[in-house]
C-alpha cells in the first residue's frame, strides 16, 4: 500500500517538476551548459563589429519584439494610486512595451495594459499617438526646421529602448571603467555578447552595467544595471521576445477610428501637453543651477534646493492635475521618500540622507541637494568639501 501511495503522489510531484523545469528552463539550461555559444571577442572587436553591422544593415534591421523593463531600485513602496501608466510607476515593478520596427521611418511602439493600449506610430511624415483610454488620436508633426534627425519618440521616458540606453552607457566608457565581454549569455532566446562595464571607483554604488548585443545582428537586446551587493539587476530593460523579420505593413498605418477625438500637435514647436512643457522648463531651470562635482561614475550633482518649495509645488500640482492622479502620486512619493530619510550631520552641518540601491541623495539643512550613484560616505564627503 505504501508503495502505491508513493507512486501516486509521484505523479503530481513529477508534474510540478516538469512545470518548474519549463519555467526555469531558459536560465537553467544556459547556466548548466555554460558553453560559449559565440566566438570570443574583445570589447573593441565587438563594438567595431556592431558598428560595421549597423552600417551594413543601414541602421537597425527590421524587427519586432517585446521589451520589458524591470526596476527594483529599492525605493520605498509606492502607494498604489496613480494607475499603471504614470511615469513614476516605471520606477518600480515590471513594464512591457511592444515594438515593431520596419526600417528607418517605420516604427510602432505599443504599451498594452489591461483593456487599454497606448500606441505611437511613426511612419515617415505621419505620426500618430493613440491612447485608447482617452479614446484620443493625436497627429504629431515634427517641426521640419529643427535640423536634427528626429529621435525615436516613445510614449514613455526616452531611454526605454535598449538601443538608446546602450548608446548612452557606451559613451561613458573611459578610464573610470573596466570592460569585459561575456560570450555565453542568452537574451530572448538568442545568443548574445554581454559587454560588462564595471566602475573602477570604490565609492560607486554601481556594481556593473551589462549590455547584451545580439550575436548575429549586434543589435543591443538588453541593458542591465547591477547595484553593489545585489544579485538581481536593479534596473533592466531588454527584449523578452524578438524576431528579425520585417513586420506587417499594417502596423505602421493608422487611421483614427470613428468616434475618436483627433488632436494635432507639433513636436519641437510646442509640446504635446502643458505639463510636459512645464516639466522641461523646470528641468532646464534646475540644470542651470546644478553643479557637478567629481567625474566618471562618482559624479555628484549639487543643486540648490528647498524642501518647502518642493512640497508646495507638489501640493499645487495635486490641486491642478488631480485628474490623472499624477500629482497625488508625486506627493505621496515625496512623503514616503522623506519618511525613509535618515538624519545625518557633520562639520558641514546637518541634513537628511535618502538611500536607494543605485542612488544616494542628501538634503542639507542649508538648502542644497546632493545626489549621485555613490555611497553615502562619499556624498557626505562631497558635502563637506563645499
Amino acid at each position: 500500500m505504501r508503495r502505491g501511495t508513493f507512486v501516486r503522489w509521484g505523479v503530481p510531484i513529477a508534474a510540478a517538476a516538469v512545470i518548474g523545469a519549463a519555467i526555469g528552463a531558459g536560465p537553467v539550461i544556459a547556466a548548466v551548459s555554460g558553453e560559449p555559444t559565440l566566438p570570443e571577442r574583445s570589447a573593441e572587436q565587438l563594438l567595431a563589429d556592431a558598428a560595421a553591422a549597423t552600417v551594413k544593415d543601414q541602421g537597425m534591421r527590421p524587427m519586432s519584439g517585446t521589451v520589458q523593463q524591470t526596476a527594483s531600485l529599492g525605493l520605498p513602496a509606492l502607494p498604489a494610486t496613480g494607475g499603471d501608466t504614470g511615469p513614476l510607476s516605471l520606477l518600480s515593478g515590471t513594464h512591457e512595451v511592444k515594438v515593431w520596427y520596419g526600417g528607418e521611418n517605420k516604427i510602432r511602439v505599443a504599451m498594452p495594459t489591461h483593456l487599454n493600449e497606448t500606441n505611437l506610430i511613426y511612419n515617415g511624415d505621419q505620426s500618430w499617438y493613440w491612447d485608447s483610454a482617452a479614446n484620443t488620436a493625436t497627429r504629431l508633426r515634427i517641426k521640419a526646421d529643427t535640423g536634427e534627425r528626429p529621435g525615436l519618440p516613445t510614449p514613455q521616458p526616452t531611454d526605454m529602448t535598449p538601443q538608446q540606453a546602450a548608446q548612452r552607457l557606451l559613451a561613458q566608457v573611459d578610464e573610470h571603467t573596466a570592460v569585459r565581454v561575456i560570450n555565453n549569455a542568452e537574451v530572448a532566446g538568442r545568443p548574445v555578447y554581454q559587454l560588462v562595464l564595471a566602475p573602477k571607483a570604490g565609492a560607486s554604488l554601481v556594481q556593473e552595467v551589462r549590455i547584451a548585443l545580439d550575436g548575429e545582428t549586434y543589435m543591443p537586446l538588453q541593458v542591465q544595471l547591477y547595484a553593489k551587493g545585489s544579485a538581481e539587476p536593479a534596473y533592466q530593460v531588454g527584449f523578452t521576445q524578438v524576431t528579425f523579420t520585417p513586420p506587417a505593413p499594417e502596423n505602421f498605418t493608422f487611421t483614427p477610428p470613428a468616434g475618436a477625438k483627433v488632436k494635432e500637435a507639433t513636436i519641437g514647436e510646442e509640446n504635446i501637453g502643458q505639463k510636459a512643457e512645464e516639466r522641461a522648463e523646470h528641468a532646464a531651470d534646475m540644470a542651470g543651477k546644478a553643479k557637478m562635482v567629481g567625474d566618471g561614475w562618482t559624479t555628484v550633482a549639487v543643486v540648490p534646493f528647498s524642501l518647502s518649495d518642493l512640497q508646495a509645488q507638489a501640493a499645487g500640482k495635486d490641486g491642478q492635475a488631480g485628474q490623472d492622479g499624477r500629482g497625488t502620486q508625486a506627493n505621496a512619493l515625496l512623503d514616503s521618500v522623506l519618511k525613509s530619510a535618515t538624519p545625518v550631520n557633520g562639520t558641514w552641518g546637518s541634513g537628511k540622507l535618502i538611500r536607494t540601491k543605485l542612488l544616494t541623495a542628501l538634503l542639507t539643512d542649508d538648502g542644497r541637494l546632493l545626489a549621485g550613484a555613490v555611497t553615502p560616505e562619499e556624498l557626505v564627503r562631497v558635502a563637506g568639501t563645499q
Binding site: 500500500m1 508503495r3 502505491g4 501511495t5 501516486r8 503522489w9 505523479v11 503530481p12 513529477a14 508534474a15 510540478a16 516538469v18 512545470i19 519549463a22 519555467i23 517585446t66 513602496a77 509606492l78 498604489a80 518600480s92 515593478g93 515590471t94 511592444k98 505599443a110 498594452p112 489591461h114 483593456l115 487599454n116 493600449e117 500606441n119 500618430w128 493613440w130 491612447d131 485608447s132 483610454a133 482617452a134 479614446n135 488620436a137 521576445q241 506587417a248 499594417e250 502596423n251 493608422f254 487611421t255 483614427p256 477610428p257 470613428a258 468616434g259 475618436a260
Partner: protein
C-alpha cells in the same frame, strides 16, 4: 486497486471447485477455511446471462466492448451534466451571471446619455460606438470574482458534495471507477465553466446590440474591424476565458478531494483567489505575480489588439495547462488512494 497486485491466486490446476466445505462444529478462527479450494478466476463474461435471460440482459462483460466503455463514459458524463444543469442552485448562478452584463449595459447607457464628453473613461466611450465591446467589458468585470465563484461552486462541490451526501460510496460501489468519476467530474466542471463564459458573452452581446449602435468595432490599438471579425474575436475570448475557468476548476476539484464538506472546498478556492489578488496588489511581491492564476485571467484582452496578441494568449493558455496538469494530478493522487469513510 493495489490489492489486486498483491493478490495471490490459487493455481490454475486447482479445478476441484464447487463444493462448499462444511464446518464441523465450531470452527475457531485460526483454522478457518484456509484450505478452501478455489479455481483460478476466469475472465468475466456475461454472454451466458444475455443469451439465457430476457430479464437479465442489459449488462455486458468488462472486456467485451471498448466502444461500450466509451459509451458508458459519455452516459455518466451526461448524467453528471444533467445533474449540474438541473440543479436549481447552479441555474441561479448562471442567471445571476447573465443578468450582470444587462445591468452593466443599462448603467453605461444611462451614464453615456447623461455625461458630457470627456467625463467618461475610454472604454465607455469605446462602447458608445461599438456594441461588441460590452462583452469584453463584462468579462473584465466578472472574470476575477463572480465567474470564478460560479465555477468553484460546481467544481468544489464535485467530490466533496457527493462525499458529504454519502452518494459517493454508492457511485464508487456501482462501480463508477475513481479515475473515471474524477474525469467525468472535471469535464463537467469544464463544461459548466464554458457555460458560464458563454452565458456572459451571449447576454452581453445581446444587451450590447440592443443598447448601443452596431457597426464596426474599434480595437484597443485604434484599428477598426468588421462586426464579423469582432464576433470571431469574441469567440476567441470565450475560448480563452473558458480555459481560465477550466484551470480554476482543476484547483477547486483538487481541494474538493481533500474534504467532505463542499462549502469548505468552495470557500478554500475563493480564499486562494482572493489571496492571489492581494499578492498581486503588493508591489514587493511582484516577482510572484506572473505565476499566479488570476494574473492570466484578464489577458483575454489580447484579442482586442492589432495584431492579436497571440503570445499573451499562448502564455496564458500554457499557464492554464500547467495548473490543470498540476492540480488535476493532485486531485487524482488524492482521490485514487482516498479511503471513503463517508
Amino acid at each position: 486497486m493495489s490489492t489486486a497486485e498483491t493478490r495471490t491466486q490459487a493455481g490454475a490446476g486447482a479445478a476441484a471447485a464447487g463444493q462448499l466445505r462444511r464446518m464441523p462444529g465450531l470452527v475457531p478462527v485460526t483454522e478457518t477455511l484456509r484450505t478452501v479450494e478455489r479455481r483460478a478466476p476466469e475472465p468475466l463474461t456475461r454472454d451466458a446471462d444475455e443469451d439465457a435471460g430476457e430479464g437479465t440482459g442489459g449488462f455486458t462483460g468488462g472486456d467485451a466492448a471498448g466502444g461500450l466503455r466509451i459509451g458508458a463514459f459519455w452516459r455518466l458524463l451526461g448524467s453528471e451534466l444533467a445533474l449540474t444543469f438541473r440543479r436549481p442552485r447552479n441555474m441561479a448562478l448562471l442567471a445571476v451571471l447573465g443578468v450582470v452584463p444587462v445591468i452593466l449595459g443599462i448603467g453605461l447607457r444611462l451614464a453615456s446619455s447623461t455625461a458630457g464628453d470627456g467625463e467618461m473613461g475610454g472604454v465607455v466611450q469605446n462602447l458608445a460606438g461599438n456594441s461588441l465591446m460590452l462583452t469584453f467589458l463584462s468579462f473584465s468585470f466578472l472574470v476575477l470574482l463572480l465567474m470564478p465563484v460560479a465555477v468553484s461552486v460546481v467544481a468544489g462541490d464535485a467530490i466533496a458534495g457527493e462525499a458529504g451526501g454519502g452518494t459517493l460510496r454508492y457511485l464508487l460501489a456501482a462501480p463508477a471507477g475513481r479515475g473515471r468519476l474524477l474525469a467525468v467530474k472535471y469535464l463537467n466542471a469544464v463544461v459548466f465553466g464554458y457555460a458560464v463564459t458563454a452565458v456572459v458573452a451571449v447576454t452581453a452581446l445581446l444587451t450590447g446590440l440592443a443598447l448601443f449602435p452596431g457597426g464596426s468595432v474599434t480595437l484597443l490599438s485604434g484599428t477598426t474591424i468588421t462586426v464579423g471579425e469582432g464576433l470571431l474575436r469574441i469567440l476567441l475570448a470565450v475560448g480563452y476565458v473558458g480555459a481560465a475557468m477550466a484551470a480554476l476548476a482543476a484547483v477547486a476539484l483538487a481541494l474538493s478531494t481533500f474534504t467532505e464538506v463542499a462549502i469548505g472546498a468552495i470557500a478554500g478556492t475563493l480564499v486562494l483567489l482572493v489571496v492571489c489578488q492581494v499578492v498581486r496588489a503588493v508591489p514587493a511581491l511582484a516577482p510572484v505575480t506572473p505565476y499566479l492564476l488570476p494574473t492570466r485571467f484578464t489577458d483575454f484582452d489580447g484579442v482586442l489588439r492589432d495584431p492579436v496578441d497571440y503570445a499573451a494568449l499562448r502564455d496564458g493558455l500554457l499557464s492554464f495547462a500547467a495548473y490543470i496538469a498540476l492540480f488535476g494530478s493532485i486531485a487524482w493522487a488524492r482521490f485514487s488512494g482516498k479511503d471513503i469513510t463517508s
